[in-house]
């Protein structure tokens, strides 16, 4: 690695590491917070490891050990791609340190590659935890072969390289296209969501237009499904062939192509980097101010409205927080225009699921999408250096919490109502079930808002260089998101099975009561936390 790039990368990493705070911070509370953030991340990684290990174990039990390297590679690649796609823009462009870094005698290519590598290194622990946990399952079930294990371990760190390069290139392209228009942010967000839509529905369109055989869900055909996927994700295929062979040719191919594409990417983006940053950071002054009628609002409403403006003014905030809402729209459109059985079949790879049995799980399905991320996970931290404005205002900080929670509820509830209504009706729910789904959907929106706020206040980070640090990779966000997702997935399955024992409507009602209680507890905890904040 050349000198400029390595110095920059080392500094980026050091500037963001909790290690420096633990070592040099004089404030005990801040040191303690940095330590608890580390513990939080370890907890999340353990959770992912647990999930991935059992995922691997399942493949072993099914006798699909040969497909485990491919399965691990595809999982890591898909995860890296989507995790990068929604944050690459924030990492690569409009950084606070842009002026300082660009004025230094470092080549633009080194700046670009250091920024990319910084993002890549942040992504590595998740990839390694995921891959090595599946490897643990592989070691248990496959005949012992040390060479294969070593190849697996050595090649794993390179798995995210290609998907991250592609995701960052796409994100850069969308940013570039956006700058050609007056409303560049709108164009950028639309392109991002349109691409997401294509990704999530690609399987449906391939089957519809190319009349490809549907993939059955039985164990014999899972291997065929992986072979088919591996055809498209060629680095996953090379990884699998390198491990299964073991094959030197595929090892060299995998390593060489990953590194070469990264270098080519850095070279190309460097050509446009300054131009793109200039356009992204420039503001053309709007036309002269026209007087509008100014309305008086309560402090809580004023905070909620401020949050709404912030939401609209930041691509990273909008795309990451609004992603669940957009997915709900996709799902609703699918259920409205395609019959329920086909939609379920497409989502579950053709699993023979009777639509009606999913009714008790409808609120959790919608919550899985809407509750995946909450603006409250990061909205308090996003105040950053402007926090003094709120602190110096004559308002109770509880009003700030209320305002931010209110914004999240206003944002998510209409989608929760819409999603629950359409899904429960289309799945054949009776009127009571439909009403209960809608009510519980609203309760879950409140839970999302309060749980996110509690997570944020527990891991508050007001000192950040780049907003993506708190929106996407902040401890509050990760600690809220991953456990919630896993619990949610479990509850979807749990609700379906519980409905076989007791009435489906009762299952929905019980979930509603439990989540209402949790929402109340998290709200009270948030109010008590905010009173103790001392920045």
């Amino acid at each position: 690695m050349n000198k400029g790039r390595s110095i920059l990368l080392k500094t980026f990493l050091r500037a963001q590491s909790a290690g420096n705070i633990i070592k040099y911070e004089k404030d005990k509370k801040k040191r303690k917070k940095a330590k608890s953030t580390r513990i939080g991340f370890i907890f999340v990684y353990l959770l992912v490891a647990f999930y991935a290990f059992f995922f691997g174990l399942g493949y072993g039990i099914a006798g699909l050990t040969d497909y485990m390297p491919l399965s691990a590679a595809i999982t890591c690649i898909a995860l890296s791609f989507f995790m990068t796609f929604f944050k690459a823009d924030g990492y690569m462009f409009t950084n606070k340190d842009y002026d300082m870094v660009m004025a230094l005698p470092i080549s633009v290519k080194d700046v670009v590659s250091a920024r990319f590598l910084y993002m890549y290194i942040w992504n590595l622990p998740m990839t390694c935890v995921m891959s090595f946990s599946i490897l643990a399952g592989y070691i248990i079930w496959a005949p012992f072969n040390l060479i294969k294990i070593i190849i697996w371990i050595v090649l794993t760190p390179l798995l995210p390289m290609l998907p991250m390069v592609l995701a960052t290139a796409l994100s850069t392209l969308f940013a570039g296209v956006g700058t050609k228009f007056k409303y560049r942010r709108v164009i950028q967000v639309l392109l991002t969501f349109a691409f997401t839509f294509v990704c999530f529905t690609s399987r449906y369109w391939v089957e519809k237009f190319f009349k490809e055989d549907k993939i059955d869900n039985n164990m014999q055909n899972i291997g065929a499904a992986f072979d088919k996927t591996g055809k498209y994700i060629f680095t996953a295929n090379w990884f699998a062939k390198a491990v299964n062979g073991p094959s030197i040719i595929y090892i060299v191919l995998f390593v060489a192509v990953s590194i070469a594409l990264f270098e080519v990417f850095s070279y190309i983006v460097a050509k446009f980097y300054r131009q793109l940053n200039t356009k992204l950071t420039s503001r053309v002054r709007a036309n002269k101010y026209k007087e509008h009628a100014l309305k008086k609002n309560s402090a809580t409403m004023a905070i909620a409205y401020k949050e709404f403006r912030k939401f609209l003014s930041s691509n990273n905030y909008l795309v990451n927080i609004g992603f669940g809402e957009v997915l709900v729209i996709f799902l609703c459109v699918a259920f409205l225009f395609v019959d329920a059985k086909s939609v379920i079949s497409t989502i579950t790879s053709g699993a023979p699921i009777e639509p009606k049995i999913l009714i008790p799980a409808v609120p959790m399905i919608i919550h899985f999408l809407l509750g995946m991320m909450s603006s409250t996970c990061c909205s308090y931290s996003l105040e950053g250096k402007s926090y003094w404005i709120l602190q110096s205002c004559p308002i109770d900080l509880c009003d700030v919490v209320n305002g931010k929670v209110l914004f999240q509820i206003i944002l998510a509830t209409p989608f929760a109502i819409l999603g629950n209504l359409i899904l429960s009706i289309k799945l054949g729910g009776n009127p009571i079930e439909v009403i209960l789904c809608v009510i519980v959907g609203c309760v879950l929106s409140i839970y999302t808002a309060t749980c996110g706020m509690f997570s944020n206040l527990s891991h508050l980070k007001l000192e950040w260089e780049n907003e993506i640090e708190v929106i996407k990779q902040g401890a509050a966000t990760v600690i809220y998101m991953l456990p919630n997702m896993f619990v949610n997935m479990g509850l979807v399955v749990g609700a379906v099975f519980l409905a076989k024992v007791i009435d489906g409507a009762l299952v929905i009602a019980i979930m509603g009561v439990v989540y209402a209680l949790l929402a109340f507890i998290f709200y009270k905890l948030s109010l008590s936390k905010v009173r103790k904040i001392n920045v």
Binding site: E25, S107, E463
Partner: protein
Amino acid sequence: MMSVLEIKNFSKSYGGGKYAAKDVNLSVEAGDIYAFIGHNGAGKSTTIKSVVGVLDFEEGDILVNGHSVKTEPMEVKREIAYIPDNPDLYEHLTAIQYLNFIADIFGIDADVRRQRIESYAKEFEIEDALNDLISSFSHGMKQKIAIISALIHEPKLFILDEPFVGLDPKAALTLKNIMKRMCESGCAVFFSTHVLDVAEKLCNKMAIIKGGSIIVTGNMEELTADKSLEDVFMEVTEHE
């Protein structure tokens, strides 16, 4: 004699047909302390950021010791030091870690960097704070770190955007003395400011920019003559 900084027919538009800087021409010689004065939004920062290679521009050219910012950006950046109006330093680095980072980038030898950091830290009275996290510093302290980091490679051209904001009187005096010393040793200083008194006392040349165009440029003594800089500034900006 070759100018340390030469801005030739420089224009910068952010789109929408509006120019942030229009046909700017100026020249800074070795030994000059050059003030760049203008209202908020006049085009000072746009011009400065283009000089240091942060902003991309299409029209005109900017030369530093004969090197073009467009075609030889690395040569230019090795010869200059830049302090933005609001320096965003890495908050979770200690001051010494940050200064070391900048010294690494410029490839300064360990002994030389130690000696320079010690000397400037003493001058700005921050020796005891070098091992503290930047996040714990006040705005003025951060500004002092930014100034030391800019001086660490002994630049030929020192470019500062509103350098006196946030500095205490003692630190402001230290900075002025450093500027004078640099000019005496054949370097040049180019800075934007709203503090007209400082510009008048410190600078030998100045340019006033309004609406993206230079409206006055020349020697401070000749331009002010029997008036104060404030009078000259108000007069030319009101009439233009």
